[in-house]
């Protein structure tokens, strides 16, 4: 039986299995660490940095940083919230995020992160308003890359789960974008049943299933009433239970 690793997040003791990331241990303990590029079921990639925490005073991405014994992790502090706010603001300013006309509005994780972090006031960042293509060639799927935040979730889902590698990164730096493995989406073997195309994979409204439209009315959408992360924070009682289980495991 593996010995659990004990460490602290914001002063609360958390237990992790060997090999777990800080994020995984936090999730199990009912502590939400904000994230965009990480999603359950895919390999963490550590690229958006929204999950930035401080580990013994140094910043690290919670989704890729392994939990280690006796580390002290800061998560819910004003300093980190401000880092995260700036990262999320920059994502909003870097693409063309027109929430009023987006099918993903209300279930979009970028938008929900803006809500959770309380982003609404003027910022120092300019809107870049890049010209980005829309690919509607496929009969079932649209790619509106105006909204892509380059989280790579579709890339990992297509490569690791669907085994198709329909999506991939092209370009570098500010020009880095997600391309498809063909002239357009129709020329790839993308299918509506792919994990990469599932509603949960793309956090924003870039990968859109045709015919879904605004399928849930305002008021019934994922984040209309509950902030993103509430499902994890709802685990807190489960965490206590889990701790008991751990203690039992120790005996």
């Amino acid at each position: 039986m593996n010995t659990p690793i004990r460490f602290q997040i914001d002063g609360v003791e958390v237990l992790a299995e060997p090999g777990q990331s800080i994020m995984q241990a936090a999730d199990a303990a009912g502590i939400y660490i904000p994230r965009l590029c990480d999603v359950e079921g895919l390999e963490p990639q550590g690229s958006c940095r929204v999950c930035t925490v401080k580990v013994n005073g140094r910043t690290a991405a919670a989704c890729t940083q392994p939990a280690a014994a006796d580390i002290e992790v800061e998560n819910d502090t004003l300093e980190l919230t401000n880092y995260r706010r700036d990262l999320v603001r920059m994502l909003f300013h870097e693409g063309n995020h027109l929430c009023p006309i987006c099918e993903a509005s209300g279930r979009c994780e970028l938008q929900a992160m803006g809500y959770r972090l309380g982003i609404s006031q003027p910022t120092k960042y300019p809107y870049l308003q890049p010209a980005r293509p829309v690919d509607a060639s496929h009969p079932d799927i649209v790619l509106d890359t105006n909204r892509c935040i380059r989280c790579g979730r579709c890339i990992r889902a297509s490569r690791d789960i669907d085994g198709k590698s329909v999506f991939g990164y092209v370009g570098r730096g500010i020009d880095k974008k997600v391309g498809v493995n063909g002239d357009n989406l129709l020329a790839t073997d993308a299918s509506i049943d792919d994990c990469a195309i599932a509603l949960e994979t793309c956090p924003v409204g870039c990968i859109i299933q045709k015919g879904m439209g605004f399928y849930k009315p305002i008021g019934e959408r994922s984040f209309d009433h509950q902030p993103i992360g509430s499902n994890i924070e709802g685990n807190r009682s489960g965490a206590a239970h889990r701790e008991e289980t751990w203690r039992q495991g120790e005996e």
């Binding site: 995020h97 009023p100 987006c102 006031q121 003027p122 300019p126 809107y127 308003q129 009433h225």
Partner: protein, 189 residues
């Protein structure tokens, strides 16, 4: 204690659809309370076209898509103590801002005009002219947000922000404190 003067509010719709103003009317019967607390200066609600005196609060709906919008916005900035950008159009350009990038054109303004006045199949325009009467405000090269043009003190996102959101914001501002909106009242759509 000296009697406080009623707060003076001015409002304007720039490159917006008047949805935010409609939403302001959505405060329903609370409008009777509002009228006890404030007086309206320049606003489409009372059809006052010019400032009669300095205002405490200016509410701006819409960004700037023509020179008249810029002029109005600057006028609001110099005549209002607190300037509030209301709604997605004022905050980030909203739907009008689609002409800046989403059309993927090297000359988006021309393409926009062509679509509106020349090429649309639903058009009757025998002269094939894009309207160019000098009395018409000049259209800007792109759509600008309020922050692009003047300093803005607060933003209230939403398309439109709900009546409740606007009400709570106004009540807070009238009481000289920043609006502290609950989760459910900050929306970007």
């Amino acid at each position: 204690m000296a009697e406080q003067h009623k707060k003076r509010i001015a409002t304007a719709s720039l490159a917006g659809c008047f949805g935010c103003h409609m939403s302001l009317l959505d405060i329903d019967e609370r409008i009777l309370d509002l009228i006890e607390l404030v007086e309206f200066d320049r606003s489409p609600l009372n059809d006052l076209k010019r400032f009669t005196r300095r205002c405490d609060i200016g509410l701006i709906e819409g960004g700037c898509c023509n020179e008249e919008n810029v002029h109005t916005l600057r006028d609001f900035r110099s005549n209002c103590d607190v300037l509030v950008a209301i709604g997605q159009c004022a905050v980030m350009g909203g739907l009008p801002v689609m002409r800046n990038a989403i059309m993927h054109s090297d000359d988006p303004l021309k393409e926009c005009f062509d679509e509106a006045y020349i090429d649309s199949p639903y058009l009757y325009n025998p002269s094939h002219q894009i309207p160019n009467d000098p009395a018409l405000p000049l259209i800007l090269d792109k759509v600008y947000t309020c922050v692009d043009v003047v300093r803005v003190d607060y933003q209230i996102p939403g398309c439109p922000p709900s009546g409740d959101t606007l009400w709570q914001t106004l009540v807070a501002l009238i009481n000289n404190r920043p609006a502290d909106l609950p989760y459910e009242l900050i929306k970007y759509d």
